[in-house]
């Protein structure tokens, strides 16, 4: 009897849990559903309501083509810029972080732990506070409105975070592998390249995944570092796009928004376990 009641209680508790989760899921998904269906309405149509959202007068997939090519703003160019900047930041960060992480994890030299501490301290400074002086610095380097300015001083990306995460992972790679490589005539660079990096793919993927999402979705820095329309990234271009239409032509605005979202969403779905791993390891927010 007691067992049956307990089972019934647990069953209803599970049901309640699912009900709450489904409710939150609906709240999460609904804005995206609205975004997608709005993007398919006729481009000069009134803002759809929930009433006619799913029943537009015709499905206008050509909005996407219009936004990408014939729109008043060169969205395809924004997309190319975003890809170049994001790829640049990811590669740049991975190279810097793996080199430093190897030094911290494998080599012994005076002041190593002090420098490591200094690295961690730079993580504590909020990136937004650095923006004004960084702008002055990049201005003096004549890097404004160039890929250099968009990629190199990337203030949001914490090199320290990547170095920390990679160092922790490198420490778990068995040292016997290093020694074997050394006997084969490898130097430190060779060990890093042929032994450590191939065994650290998950950690590299985690650092790269965060770098990708942070860069792709960043707004404040590219807003300041680019001034000409042709140097805008998608994220900044999208805000200009919404300003240009001043709250009208929602179908086109939403087509542009979907174009910005889809690459990041696909990337997240493919790489999600690396995000979860990174957060669980370091407790870092995405």
């Amino acid at each position: 009897m007691i067992e049956a009641t307990r089972r019934r209680n647990r069953y209803s508790a599970n049901l309640l849990t699912y009900a709450v989760l489904v409710a939150i899921a609906l709240m999460t998904v609904l804005p995206f559903v609205w975004m997608f269906f709005t993007s398919l309405h006729e481009r000069n149509a009134q803002l759809p309501t929930m009433g006619n959202l799913f029943t537009p007068e015709g499905w206008h997939f050509e909005n996407y083509l219009y936004v990408l090519t014939f729109g008043e703003l060169p969205v395809w160019r924004f997309a190319v810029n975003s890809v170049i900047v994001t790829a640049g930041v990811v590669v740049f960060q991975l190279v810097l972080c793996s080199l430093a992480a190897y030094g911290f994890a494998r080599l012994r030299f005076p002041g190593r732990d002090l420098i490591f501490l200094a690295f961690l301290l730079t993580m504590m400074v909020p990136a937004q506070v650095l923006i004004v002086p960084l702008f002055a610095l990049v201005h003096n380097l004549r890097w404004l409105d160039s890929y250099w300015g968009l990629i190199i001083p990337y203030p949001y990306l914490s090199t320290a975070f990547g170095t920390f995460l990679l160092r922790q992972f490198f420490l778990t790679v068995p040292r016997s592998l290093d020694d074997a490589a050394r006997l084969d005539g490898c130097g430190d660079a060779g060990i890093l390249w042929h032994v450590i990096l191939p065994s650290s793919k998950p950690a590299l993927a985690t650092v790269g995944a965060f770098a990708f999402i942070w860069t792709w979705t960043d707004f404040y820095w590219p807003l300041l570092a680019s001034s000409s329309t042709t140097m805008r990234t998608l994220e900044v271009g999208l805000s200009v796009f919404s300003d240009a239409y001043g709250g009208t032509r929602w179908p086109l605005q939403m087509s542009a928004a979907v174009i910005v979202l889809v690459p990041a969403l696909l990337f997240f779905l493919i790489m999600q376990r690396f995000f979860v791993r990174g957060i669980a390891r370091t407790g870092l927010k995405g």
Binding site: T17, A100, P126, Q128, D188, I213, S242, A280
Partner: protein, 309 residues
């Protein structure tokens, strides 16, 4: 092997790129901000005279900057506790061993990896008068009430322009922050919950400690370091609110959403007063550091008294 115990000078070579990078783009800017804040530094004017602490004196006498500080505090005090509590509540649900729970975890994370600009555009629609999601739902509710013959209770107006009402705009930004930030905070809590030793619960159930008391006496104290971490990082992020304000309210209505970072943005890139903006950045940095330190101190004390009990 003895080799690894010898001093390897090449270590500096491996550290050099990242160290130089961090020095130039992180340490130098911090010092540069301090230097700039002591000068009348206009972006377009070549002479930048030293003026001591005048910028700091001026900003504390500026009612609009004081107002921005107050707005930031309102936002932090509302969004951080709500954000932490909702994330913990949802984490407690998705940590249960139920089928399909992984799908929910992934789903709830999605807004956090999305373009903030696109999210702001969608929320402008959600908060719109008449056609917006909330007002549309209110309209449906009114109709339902009327249909049930309860029309005499009156109907709620569907014309509320949430982003244009001084009382509502800040509340709207807080609700939006809960929606966007849920996923990452939840995942950290899930990791914290999963690391609580199962034996503690077994021992407690032998002592007849179940249900709600289990949560207050085991889960919450064991989770204290995680809660501390989530609270501090959420606070730091909340002080740096920018994109939604830039996209949705421009600091309005009546400066009720003019938070510190947005104020700095206007100071630097509408008035070009980089010196003043640097001084304001230093004040923001000081605020963040002090608040984070207080949180660490208070929550850590809470943690140790909990253990002493």
């Amino acid at each position: 092997m003895k080799r690894s115990h010898r001093i390897n000078w090449r270590g500096y070579l491996f550290l050099a790129p990242a160290t130089i990078y961090l020095t130039v783009f992180s340490v130098v800017p911090i010092l540069l901000a301090g230097y700039m804040s002591l000068h009348r530094w206009h972006l377009l004017k070549p002479d930048r005279p030293y003026i001591g602490l005048d910028n700091y004196k001026a900003l504390f006498a500026n009612p609009f900057f004081i107002n921005a500080i107050r707005n930031s505090f309102v936002y932090v005090l509302a969004s951080v506790p709500l954000g932490v509590i909702t994330a913990l509540a949802v984490a407690l649900l998705v940590v249960r061993p139920l089928r399909g729970v992984g799908v929910f975890r992934t789903l709830f994370y999605v807004p956090a990896v999305c373009s903030q600009v696109a999210m702001a555009m969608v929320w402008i629609w959600i908060l719109m008068p008449e056609q917006g999601l909330i007002n549309y739902a209110v309209g449906l509710m009114n109709e339902a009430l009327a249909g049930l013959g309860l029309a005499h209770l009156g109907s709620i107006p569907t014309s509320t322009n949430f982003l244009n009402e001084p009382g509502w705009a800040m509340a709207a930004l807080v609700v939006m922050s809960l929606w966007i930030g849920l996923g990452p905070r939840m995942i950290i809590f899930v990791a914290g919950l999963q690391s609580i030793p199962q034996q503690l619960y077994e021992a407690a159930s032998l002592d007849g400690c179940t249900g709600r008391r289990r949560f207050w006496h085991i889960t919450l104290p064991q989770l204290a370091p995680t809660t501390l971490f989530v609270t501090v990082t959420t606070t730091i992020a909340a002080f740096q609110l920018f994109t939604p304000v830039y996209m949705m309210t421009k600091g309005g209505p009546q400066r009720t959403t003019d938070v510190v970072l947005y104020h700095i943005y206007k100071e630097a890139w509408q008035k070009f007063e980089l010196g003043m903006a640097s001084a304001q950045s230093y004040v923001l940095l000081a605020m963040i550091v002090v608040i984070a330190a207080i949180q660490l101190w208070v929550l850590r004390r809470g943690l140790t008294t909990e253990e002493a009990r």
